[in-house]
């Protein structure tokens, strides 16, 4: 078992004191970010990306990625706490936890059971998903190493069409957002010929639109503006939130009764996360749906059913882990958060994609081992520190909001020491707020912005290799299959809308 040997080496890396220290710091920051309603996991990771650059000055990129991913794990667990205790989702992926988590805590008076079931489900799902990642990522990467430009382009195209075909939002709006991302990515020098494009004669535009300030703006500042409109947080009720061994035992008992649900949801969630563009948020709703669909007592859902907590939470965490697979193996981000982590890899001088498994084995396996450790650490922290984390919710809005803004500005500024980046961040903050309000999905935009350049490069290299013959994309069986799949996924919403219209005459199909 070569994989186990590599993994053991990875644990050796991840268990170095400096890496454990940064993992702890990352998970703790993630928990805090997860609890704060105005600040999401994606923006948290983006804001702290510049900090990771400082980490790489003294330590290896492995330490930096362990730190960044730790934020993701912390936020996954932390977002749930406020959903359950206060009926306020700390993260978009914790919304599904409102349906049953809060009723169980409040109406049935069992906050301890609600919290421990959520933490246990997260932990077990992450464990299952990480085992799957351990065994699946490397073969996929080795296969991907054989890909030529045509296959790689087909993979990228497939990622875009998955965002359209399987996205939760309107497919047309997803398409538009992909176009916007591609266009923004194209600004600056042409990667093949070096010609300036879309710069309109302005020097500032020649270097292109940087990814990090855009993401901090879209997610960080956009979220603050959105939550300001929802009239702040206001009064937060006090609720008993200390966890004891009794709660843990009760949670474990509940888990044993729902083991199959958690295992199935983890496996489904993992594969769902592997699909580009689907992170924890979509996974969590999917998991809630599955839990409800196959439950014997459907009528209990919405009233504090434990399956309604474990279902979404296990799928959410498994999707988050799964979304790292395409990033590591193919260089395609599986979710907005992993898009930010991938941008980090590029900034630290690593090339995300299959070559990582050959050239950066210590990095990859140290990172994979840290996913196990990170979840264990976060789980223990959650069990012990819930009252402290719940207290963060009482942080005053008038201090928190401007503080998050200043941290966002620092994040945008420090990467290149450039006020231009700060301006970009603020502009995209307002844009992001507006797009969010008008129900335009942001994930396709972010993914397209990261993948725009590589997609174009592979497209043109493939064409160059065949003297401009577009049939090059159908020259090997694999690229043909991928291209056909991409087209099918693109047409999927259309088929669905036509069928829906046929079933109920007069219905409008997909909402625009």
């Amino acid at each position: 078992m070569e994989v186990l040997g590599e993994l053991a080496g990875g644990f050796g890396t991840a268990l170095q004191p400096v890496n454990v220290a940064f993992l702890f710091a990352g998970c703790l920051l993630g928990l805090i970010i997860g609890v704060l309603p105005g600040l999401g996991g994606t923006s948290g990771v983006a804001i702290l990306l510049p900090v990771s650059v400082y980490i790489t000055q003294d330590h290896s990129p492995t330490t930096a990625v362990i730190f960044l991913a730790g934020i993701y794990w912390g936020a996954l667990f932390g977002g749930v706490i406020t959903s359950i205790l206060f009926n306020i989702p700390g993260e978009p992926w914790a919304v599904a936890l409102l349906f049953d988590g809060y009723p169980l805590a409040k109406r049935l008076g069992k906050p301890g059971l609600a919290l421990t079931s959520s933490f246990l489900a997260s932990f077990f799902a992450a464990l299952i998903a990480t085992v799957m990642l351990t065994f699946f990522a490397r073969p996929l990467a080795l296969k991907a190493l054989e890909f030529g430009p045509a296959e790689l382009f087909a993979v990228f195209l497939l990622s875009f069409t998955t965002l359209v075909g399987l996205g939760a939002e309107s497919p047309l709006k997803s398409l538009m957002m992909i176009g916007v991302g591609l266009l923004l990515g194209a600004i600056g020098f042409d990667t093949i010929t070096g010609e300036p494009r879309l710069a309109f004669g302005r020097i500032e535009l020649l270097s292109g639109i940087p990814f990090v300030p855009v993401t901090i703006g879209l997610f960080g500042i956009g979220e603050i503006l959105a939550s300001a409109e929802e009239a702040g947080i206001g009064y937060v009720e006090k609720i008993k939130s200390t966890l004891g061994f009794k709660d843990l035992a009760e949670g474990l008992g509940a888990l044993r009764k729902r083991l199959w649900l958690v295992v199935t949801n983890s496996i489904i969630g993992f594969w769902f996360g592997v699909l580009p563009g689907h992170g924890a948020t979509a996974g969590s709703f999917l998991g809630y749906g599955i839990a409800r669909q196959y439950s014997k007592n459907k009528e209990n859902f919405g009233k504090g059913e434990v399956s309604g907590i474990m279902g979404p939470q296990s799928a959410a965490d498994a999707s988050a882990v799964g979304s790292l697979v395409p990033m590591l193996s193919l260089g395609v981000p599986g979710s907005p958060t992993s898009a930010v982590i991938m941008a980090g890899l590029i900034i630290w001088g690593l090339q995300p994609g299959p070559l990582l498994f050959v050239e950066q084995r210590e990095f990859v396996w140290g990172f994979i081992a840290s996913i196990y450790l990170g979840h264990l650490l976060t789980f223990v922290m959650c069990l012990t520190a819930v009252p402290l984390l719940a207290a963060i919710m009482r942080a005053p809005y008038g201090i928190l909001t401007p503080f998050i803004l200043i941290i966002s500005v620092i994040g945008a500024y420090t990467l290149n020491n450039s006020m231009k980046d700060v301006a970009i961040c603020v502009i995209f903050g307002i844009v992001g707020y507006w797009l969010r309000k008008m129900k335009y999905p942001l994930a396709p935009l972010v993914v397209a912005l990261v993948l725009g350049d590589p997609t174009e490069r592979e497209l043109r290299e493939a064409l160059i290799s065949r003297g401009g013959d577009p049939l090059v994309f159908f020259s090997t069986p694999l690229s043909t299959i991928l291209m056909v799949l991409a087209v099918v996924l693109l047409l999927l919403p259309l088929v669905r809308s036509v069928r829906a219209r046929r079933r109920e005459p007069g219905a409008t199909g997909i909402a625009a």
Partner: protein, 156 residues
Amino acid sequence: MATAAVLVLIAAVAMLDTASGALPDPTGAVPGGVKSGWYPFWSGMLIVVSGAAVAYRALTTPQPAEGAFRDRGSLLSVVQLVVPMIAATYLMSDRLLGFYVASGLYMAYFARFTTGYRWYWALAAGVLTPVLVYLVFEVGFHALFPKSFLYPAIPF
């Protein structure tokens, strides 16, 4: 609807700028047959086509009569946040107020006038935040921020 129209407009400008590369070049003068304008042009086309479809849907399906904002209050609360934010980030620039002064003023302003804390809490927030940022980023990570027009007469 209006959002789609604005995005389509932006895309149209981008397409005009790259229109020279819109069509594949069959002469073989360009490697691969596509010029550098090809890709952005068709990205823009993607926006225009899907944007037109979004706009068409918005026009043909009955919309809730509600505006973008629930009431003046929610619009006001966003404007209250956006305007000081733009002002603060502008003032942060080098040779204006600098990062530390501008961020402190912004914290204090927000605490005092947007949320109505007592002046001493606002003052505390305005002083402590820049100090905290200085300790963490400038001392801890050796980051440098834009300084004010008085620098180097004063150290920030």
